[in-house]
């Protein structure tokens, strides 16, 4: 018989090993599905690996994929630290994409356009995140529900935009007009899609880490997340910090949209995000809400996504497997987190 016993501390290596264990468990569990689909497990994972990390081009593709998830992962990590349950990164991303696309379509010098796109996208994301935060602070509305439902509102607003005023009058496709060529983010490596936004994402992670770990705002975010009452008595304006957190979180998610518009799609369409906002939740959980951990976690999911498409082509296993792996990874991580609080102890059977 086994039982759970509370533990008071965990070692550093254990904390590091935890996400790896969760990922390992996920791959083992999903291999069953691959076998069920009639493909060789080793072969399928082999194709996945070589298509996502096998050569330098594959690696750049994975980096490009990881970029929006780094931004949304950071957005969720920051919010969850303060226990602001922002499930709305998807909508904030879309708002950021629309705003940056609108700005990018205005003719102006490239660098200025890129800067303004980033500002507009961040502002749009922040504005969207402000809604559930304000509802929670003023009216105690549950932020999980309000931020989640807002995603649909934003999505259909975007659809209305690209089916209406932004509709391509020439082709009739529901896609927005493209941004100016000069506003396209520069490509860093000839022959790849590695764009400026990728660098920005990998710079954002340490910046956010620093903000959380080393600034008074970060301190306050951590404290209100763990114990809002002690924070209030300690002289912290809990509501104010919560709003700041929401703005920061929304802005980061908005930047995910900016980077997709400026670096990958150059316009807005209905499927600009295959759920990067939701993947951000998985990324943040795998990273255990650590901004630095968001980078490897996003890379893992990106590799799964790019790899799954190639695997599907090569072995006939449906590409949905990528979604299943994501979901399983989240569940495995949640289970793994249990072991930071409890240890398993073997005991003799009751007499």
């Amino acid at each position: 018989m086994f039982r759970l016993e509370a533990r008071t501390s965990t070692s550093a290596w254990f904390n590091l090993a935890l996400p790896l264990l969760a990922i390992g468990a996920t791959l083992v569990l999903c291999s069953g599905l691959i076998a069920l689909a009639g493909a060789g497990v080793i072969e399928a994972y082999g194709v996945m690996f070589s298509a996502s990390l096998g050569d330098s081009y594959a690696i750049t593709e994975t980096l490009v994929r990881a970029t929006p998830m780094i931004f949304t992962g950071l957005a969720v990590a920051v919010a969850f630290r303060a226990k602001f349950w922002n499930i709305g990164a998807e909508g904030q991303l879309l708002a950021g994409a629309v705003a940056s696309c609108a700005v990018g379509a205005i003719p102006m010098p490239g660098p200025l356009a890129m800067l303004l796109m980033a500002l507009a996208g961040a502002a749009a994301g922040a504005a969207v995140a402000l809604i559930p935060a304000t509802l929670r602070v003023k009216f105690k509305v549950d932020d999980v529900v309000s931020s989640l439902l807002l995603n649909s509102v934003i999505f259909y607003a975007l659809m209305a935009l690209i089916e209406g005023p932004w509709k391509d009058s020439f082709s009739g496709y529901p896609i927005s007009p493209p941004i100016e060529d000069s506003a396209n983010f520069p490509v860093l490596l000839e022959g790849t899609r590695l764009h400026l936004g990728v660098v920005a994402a990998f710079l954002a992670a340490p910046v956010i880490w620093f903000l959380i770990a080393r600034t008074t705002l970060g301190f306050r975010i951590r404290v209100i997340g763990e114990n809002p009452e002690a924070a209030r008595y300690g002289g912290i304006h809990v509501e104010r910090v919560l709003i700041s957190t929401a703005l920061l979180s929304g802005a980061l998610a908005g930047l995910a949209g900016v980077s997709e518009v400026g670096g990958v799609h150059f316009q807005v369409m209905s499927d600009i995000s295959p759920g990067y906002g939701y993947s951000g939740i998985v990324v943040a959980m795998l990273a255990r809400l650590n901004p630095l951990g968001v980078m490897p976690a996003a890379l893992f999911l990106a590799a799964v996504m790019t790899g799954a498409e190639a695997m599907s082509r090569a072995t006939g296993v449906p590409a949905f497997l990528s979604d299943v792996i994501q979901g399983t990874a989240l569940l495995a991580m949640l289970v793994a987190l249990l072991f930071t609080a409890y240890r398993i102890r073997r005991v003799g059977a009751a007499r």
Binding site: M1, R3, E5, T8, S9, A213, R214, T215, T216, L217, G218, F219, R220, R222, V223, E226, N227, E229, A230, A231, R232, Y233, G234, G235, I236, R345, V347, G348, A349, A350, R351
Partner: protein, 503 residues
């Protein structure tokens, strides 16, 4: 003597390097109330958790009515007739009293047997005076009623032995009386009871026999608690004598805190009605009263959390214009809260974070919005040393500390910045004698250094021991104030019922 209901033999339990219990023998007979005594960290809770199946012992055996048993879970313990009321209750707040009782109890054919539950609840209530409204949600119950529900839950599941882990730490004195009569009634019916408390007068009044633990080992057994003095028992617990600190004469200076006609509204507890009081530099003012008579609102107003509707407050001569914790702190107020874990510290973060929390925005710990991690760490380390806070270091999770060490950490945090006024609620609640003694000494220290201290408490003996003046509150008002030289427990007790105390 009847055969023991339960017997623990040679129980040992280690957590890593910490020896929580070492070769402990203990038994309880039917109808017996056994006191389990020991300082914070002596291993009382651990020992009871072993008995209740939460921890597996490293060595030793447990016998129930003479037969050895293995208890691996609370379900095993309940099956063996052992019930436990933990320090922190295990209730579902949104469910009703009856539903909480019936959780995990299968009725006939998988249905919940509400009628049977109601009948048993009424019966238990009648037998021991443990009445509860079955329909109320747990969130609407007072702490005392929640505890009653925990006891009823254990009886409901057929407990023959009831373990109570520091049950009186959360109760007001009047509620303690009710609890004791219920426990006596249960013992009279042949139940065994293990009663854990730091308060020696309670142990002497209630128990038939005591076992004293120190550093996880049994250091004493008391066969006649009623005729043993508190200081004899204290010596068994601490290994040395505890002398109350001497309070010198006070030479109070100017008033450092004044409240003038303060009234509040809309407070979850009792609101304040026209409260005026003052504390001078170098004096300790006690606030006595049965809990729930406005003490909480008073503490919140002084801490700047609750803004009064009318009235004026000054700190160190300056009128408080905006009621906020920042503002009153800046004027020189320090605060030791009643509920250390909820409004004091952040249990899931490192201790150092909790120790700098109220002053994180000041130049001592941050500059231009950037933290100074070295300064924070150095401060925490220095305080841990100065106050002898027992913990592995400043990065330990605050929640891992024992009650006494948490209180020391809070004291360290507030006293480090030389407050002009200190407002303290229930300063020694849940602390053992040694830790309480330390807290008293610190207050007298601060008094000598010219700090004005307000102590909100229920323990009249304690208040009389170190306060210069005692103010009594009743239903949100001030009944009167006595110099402690003129105050007696009887007189204060009378005032606490609302009778005017001053002529």
């Amino acid at each position: 003597m009847p055969a023991p209901l339960i017997e623990m033999r040679g129980i040992s339990k280690r957590f890593g390097a910490v020896v929580a219990n070492e070769a402990v023998d203990l038994s309880v007979a039917p109808g017996e109330i056994l006191g389990l005594l020991g300082e914070n960290g002596a291993g009382k809770t651990t020992l009871m958790n072993v008995l209740f199946g939460a921890y597996a012992p490293d060595a030793g055996e447990i016998l129930v009515q003479g037969r050895p048993v293995t208890i691996n879970s609370s379900a095993d313990a309940l099956a063996a007739g052992i019930g436990m009321v933990h320090q922190h209750f295990h209730l579902a707040p949104r469910l009703s009293v009856l539903e909480n009782l019936l959780i995990g109890i299968p009725g006939k054919s998988g249905r919940i047997d509400r009628a049977g539950g109601l009948a048993r609840l009424a019966e238990i209530g009648r037998q021991h005076g443990l009445t509860l409204d079955p329909g109320l949600p747990v969130s609407a119950l007072s702490i005392g009623e929640q505890q009653r529900l925990e006891i009823v839950k254990a009886l409901f599941r057929g407990a023959r032995l009831l373990i109570l882990d520091e049950p009186t730490a959360v109760l007001a004195p009047t509620e303690v009386d009710g609890l004791f009569s219920a426990l006596r009634s249960m013992a009279a019916q042949g139940l065994g009871i293990i009663f854990i408390s730091h308060k020696l007068n309670e142990v002497r009044a209630l128990t038939h026999r005591c076992v004293v633990l120190r550093h996880g080992r049994v250091t004493g057994r008391v066969d006649a608690p009623a005729s043993t003095t508190s200081s004899e028992m204290a010596q068994l617990m601490c290994g040395h004598e505890i002398v109350p600190p001497a309070r010198g004469p006070s030479t109070p200076g100017a008033a450092v805190l004044t409240l003038d006609g303060i009234s509040t509204s809309r407070h979850s507890g009792m609101a304040l009605r026209d409260v005026s009081l003052f504390v001078r530099a170098g004096e300790i003012l006690g606030i006595a009263g049965v809990s729930g008579n406005g003490q909480r609102a008073l503490a919140e107003v002084i801490s700047g959390v609750l803004a009064p509707d009318v009235g004026r407050m000054t700190i160190a001569g300056k009128v408080v214009s905006r009621f906020s914790p920042c503002e009153v702190q800046a004027l020189g107020l320090g605060r030791i809260p009643e509920d250390r874990m909820t409004t004091g510290l952040v249990t899931n973060l490192p201790l150092a974070d909790s120790m700098v929390l109220p002053r994180i925005g000041t130049a001592a710990f941050s500059r231009n919005g950037l933290l100074r991690p070295d300064a924070i760490r150095a401060f925490a380390e220095a305080q841990i040393k100065a106050y002898d806070i027992r913990c592995p270091g400043p990065m330990t999770r605050a929640g891992a500390l024992s009650g006494g060490n948490l209180q020391k950490a809070l004291l360290a945090r507030e006293l480090a910045f030389d407050p002009k006024v200190l407002v303290v609620s229930q300063p020694t609640r849940g602390l053992d004698i040694g830790a309480a003694r330390f807290v008293h000494e610190k207050f007298l220290d601060m008094r000598a250094r010219g700090c004005g201290i307000v102590v909100i408490g229920e323990d009249l003996e304690e208040l009389l021991m170190f306060c210069d003046r005692i103010t009594v509150m009743y239903e949100g008002r001030i009944v009167g104030t006595l110099d402690s030289a003129d105050a007696t427990i009887a007189r204060l007790g009378l005032m606490m019922t609302g009778a005017e105390g001053h002529s």
